[in-house]
């Protein structure tokens, strides 16, 4: 019925599609699974049915062999929708293709798929997969990886209950964040209004990330995985501007005088 008129059957538009990127630092499936469960526990709503892009550059830099099919099975089992792979080697790309997972060529990654991420040129060039002289890494823990420099994401409208925002750089919000909303950033979070929902900064392990807000009434605050729930947040700070940062794995909430 619809197509009899002049209405075209379809249309292509360029657009961005939001997806978090999962950067793997180990090929240990059990360790990946455990860490994923920990992350999900922090923000179950955020990760529920979430698309995800798997980034294998770090792993391949370290010459760690990985059974890509196993990782995909794991991700699907715990509720993710893998929608892309980047930085994979030939073998992994072949496995991805067999699983109908698109391969993101590293050259134009970022802008087309991920909102708020701008990739530094140096990072972009790191395409080669099996470089024989991979620099020895002292640690493969997330915290050891320097944060990816990314543009700040600015939001001027209120974040309502049930909404979630993810920024791969800093996140700046000028309006209120409602209870039941979830905001996450790989960098710092600034809320120039009342923060009632959950705020998670440094979600990729950046322990130097901070949260700043005008009125802290949050349900949960977290930096690099260390968190406090509203029960543990001193109500005295209500209606006062505060900053939150990590010191020896403890979250410090301090009024900004």
């Amino acid at each position: 019925m619809l197509n009899t008129s002049t209405t075209p059957a379809l249309e292509f538009k360029s657009s961005t599609f939001f997806s978090p990127i999962l950067i793997l630092f180990t090929n240990d499936i059990a360790a990946i699974e455990q860490t994923l469960h920990e992350k999900i526990k922090l923000a179950p709503e955020f990760f529920k049915d979430s698309p995800v892009i798997i980034d294998l550059r770090e792993l391949n830099k370290q010459n760690q062999e990985l059974d890509f099919t196993c990782v995909i099975e794991l991700l699907r089992r715990i509720g993710f929708f893998p929608v892309g792979i980047r930085g994979g080697n030939d073998q992994q790309n072949k496995q991805a293709r067999a699983l109908f997972i698109p391969i993101d060529t590293v050259r134009d990654l970022g802008s087309s798929i991920v909102i708020g991420e701008t990739q530094k040129p140096e990072a972009v060039q790191q395409t080669n997969i099996k470089s024989e002289t991979a620099p020895p890494k002292e640690s493969v823990k997330p915290a050891a990886i320097p944060p990816v420099p990314a543009a700040a994401t600015l939001i001027t409208h209120p974040i309502r209950s049930g909404q979630r925002i993810y920024a791969s750089g800093d996140l700046i919000i000028l309006s209120q964040v409602s209870a039941g909303a979830e905001i996450m950033a790989e960098g710092n979070i600034h809320v120039y209004n009342t923060l009632r929902g959950r705020a998670l900064a440094g979600v990729h392990g950046n322990t130097a990330a901070r949260i700043f807000c005008f009125d802290l009434q949050a349900e949960l605050i977290s930096i690099a995985g260390d968190y406090k729930t509203s029960e543990d947040i001193n109500k005295q700070t209500y209606k006062n501007p505060v900053q939150i940062y990590l010191q020896d794995h403890a979250l410090i909430i301090k009024e900004i005088a």
């Binding site: 974040i159 309502r160 049930g162 909404q163 409602s178 009632r196």
Partner: protein, 270 residues
């Protein structure tokens, strides 16, 4: 082109249908040709409140399915000839309501009407999402209690992310607050949230406060939108809402409850 208004809330039983009937009648009474659509498939309600339940032949789903034309399904209101009702189906299942079908009906109505009021079902499921999808303006109906406020907040999130305007990156839906079933005495006793409490969480443009009023029930029993009961506070409050929506600047009433005789005589605090 018609302006499409969705009356929504998230929480059930807060007064969406009462509000839809009242404002649709209010707009029509002021000379604007208005259609009001019941999106609550399976629970016909709007036709009862408007007193036209015995004249329903075809419904919204019939029109979507092409089993009846819009003209056959639209019921002209008995009190105002500029008001038309498109009733919901009581029998058919909700799956018949599709985005494409709703879009087609709204497009057709838009040619002929100035305002289209969509009475949303409760919840955040398909019916509610479809009711708001094509909206230009949203009347968020909220009762002064925390669960209603939280649900309204959730609805506001959906309005700003899952509507046609959001998807097409157009100017967002204009959101208004309607605080209904407001009982000033219970607010004073701390049993209900005050307007301030609600606005601290929602911070929306307030279109009006509708007091809790027995006249709402008697009007709906009589099959007459309460806005036609000009003596009742609820009726006056809805008339104010329509006037404000149309751009008139009126001070808000009914915040402090009934004015006692002495208070009226000697002047109250404000």
């Amino acid at each position: 082109m018609a302006r499409i208004i969705v009356v929504t809330s998230g929480k059930g039983g807060v007064g969406k249908t009462t509000t839809s009937a009242a404002i649709a009648m209010g707009l029509a009474k002021r000379g604007h040709k208005t259609a009001v659509i019941d999106f609550d498939v399976g629970l016909r309600n709007l036709d009862l409140i408007l007193g036209c339940e015995r004249r329903v032949v075809y419904d919204f789903i019939n029109v979507i399915n092409g089993e009846a034309s819009l003209n056959q399904a639209l019921i002209r209101d008995k009190n105002c000839n500029l008001l038309y009702i498109l009733p919901a189906s009581q029998t058919r299942d909700k799956d018949a309501l599709t985005q494409e079908g709703v879009g087609k009906v709204l497009d057709e109505l838009s040619k002929d009407f100035e305002y289209i009021v969509c009475d949303s079902p409760a919840g955040i499921e398909k019916g509610a999402n479809l009711a708001l999808y094509f909206a230009d303006d949203a009347f968020v109906v909220t009762n002064p209690e925390i669960s209603s406020v939280r649900d309204s907040d959730r609805m506001l999130g959906i309005l700003s992310s899952k509507s046609r305007r959001a998807e097409k990156n157009e100017e967002p839906i204009k959101e208004y607050l309607l605080l209904t079933r407001y009982d000033a005495d219970r607010v004073k006793l701390g049993e209900m949230l005050s307007l301030e409490d609600v606005q601290e969480i929602l911070s929306l443009e307030l279109l009006g406060i509708i007091p809790e009023s027995k006249s709402v029930l008697s009007a709906s029993n009589a099959g007459m939108p309460v806005i036609l009961d000009e003596k009742s506070e609820a009726g006056q409050a809805y008339a104010d809402v329509v006037a404000r929506y149309l751009g008139e600047k009126l001070p808000h009433r009914f915040i402090d409850g009934k004015q006692g005789f002495l208070k009226r005589l000697f002047g109250g605090r404000k």
